[in-house]
Amino acid sequence: MYTDESDMTLVERYFDADLDDADMQEVTRRVETDDSFRALFEREQLLILVIRYQGQHDKLRYLKKMERHLSQDIHRAPTLSLRYWPYLVAAAVVGVLVALFVWLAVPKDSDKLFQAYFKPYPNMFEPGVRSVRETTQRRQALRAYELGDYETAARGLKQAYHDHPEPGLLLLLGNANLSLGHVPEAEENFNALIKNYDDLDLQAKWYLSLCYLKQGDVERAKIMLKELGATEISYASKAKELFEKVN
């Protein structure tokens, strides 16, 4: 393909949205009238399309990795055809009776509620570009977290956060500490997350309310849960449900 340097620059700047109106019109005109210019234009369009496709492919890989972590927790009803309906109805009745029995039998003290509602936040924080030492250390800590080795994870995450403070690391550190029963440390982590960052504040508040429950401080838990229950999204339904129970 014949490539004129200035034409190529013009095409590149067009796709980078770096042209004024007059030059934009010039590009449009030449695409319609000049075959070799159109070829340059279409090649650039194709390359950008493939870059976007590759980008989607990478994001898809990331979502699949996340899905593997999250799907360990899901308990969904399988799809059943109509002939199973009588069994479903019977199972539902039994389910309601069992749930009623469990609800009456289980003492609703704050620690029990904590146990029922606490589920460590999944690791969904990918490393950015860092030095080899930082990346290795961080990866090991995150790996330990994923494996449920919260002792190693807490140590590693604390160091990783110290070296390179990021809200995601602090959220996981708080969760690791809470899993280990180090409630004051976890509380400190979540408070720092709320105070110092704009991200992950709802998640931090949810886990902070669980810290309060774990410590038996029902009143503070209620304030936090009420606040979360009033939000538009994220944790609202779970917070409302838990608020009802502690109330």
Partner: protein, 192 residues
């Protein structure tokens, strides 16, 4: 945090914010799609992943700037279109080919659909480009990051250096594409 806050966070942020949205609506979406369309577990997850990718793409491409409804309503709306399209294109019990679907989704957006073979050749050229060029142009053209953000993330001296590097990477990609294209052409000529 409002719904539009989420949009602006994803627009300025990256993968982690997307992951948060994914986790947030996952259970409800999977429950809904399984019930409504009788999809298998695997199909429901595949459809949810495609839905999230389109949501992300719409934000990054500037198609979604402000939400008039909630994120949930918007996601479920995309999901409904994805599942209908998948059911239309695929046989009922064939597993969903996500990569093929994504390719078609991107191509359908173009005024002129590119040649299938040229698309594959461009993919090979991109694979040969190597790092950090691949990452840089992906951040610029797919994630729509500014040169300031790119220079910080990839540790360039300044945004101007990042921009120069991006131009060099694109020039190299064009060259690789032409080489690959003529190599493929020669192979075809040789065979016949």
């Amino acid at each position: 945090m409002t719904h539009n806050d989420i949009i602006s966070k994803i627009r300025s942020g990256g993968q982690n914010e997307l992951g948060l949205v994914y986790a947030e609506y996952r259970e409800e979406f999977l429950r809904w799609i399984t019930k409504e369309y009788h999809c298998s577990d695997d199909d429901s997850k595949d459809i949810y992943q495609l839905t999230i990718l389109i949501f992300y793409d719409n934000i990054k491409q500037g198609k979604l700037e402000n939400l008039v409804s909630s994120v949930k309503t918007y996601l479920f709306g995309i999901g409904k279109n994805v599942v209908r399209d998948v059911l239309r294109k695929e046989k009922r019990y064939t597993p969903i080919n996500q990569e093929k679907w994504l390719k078609e989704y991107l191509v359908e957006d173009q005024a002129h659909a590119p040649d299938e073979r040229a698309f594959d050749i461009a993919g090979i050229a991109l694979g040969k480009l190597g790092q950090p060029c691949q990452r840089l142009i992906e951040m610029f053209y797919y994630e729509k990051k500014s040169m300031v953000e790119i220079s910080e993330a990839l540790q360039f001296k300044n945004p101007e250096t990042a921009k120069n590097q991006k131009c060099k990477c694109m020039a190299r990609l064009r060259k690789l594409f032409e080489e690959e294209r003529s190599r493929t052409q020669n192979t075809i000529n040789h065979v016949y």
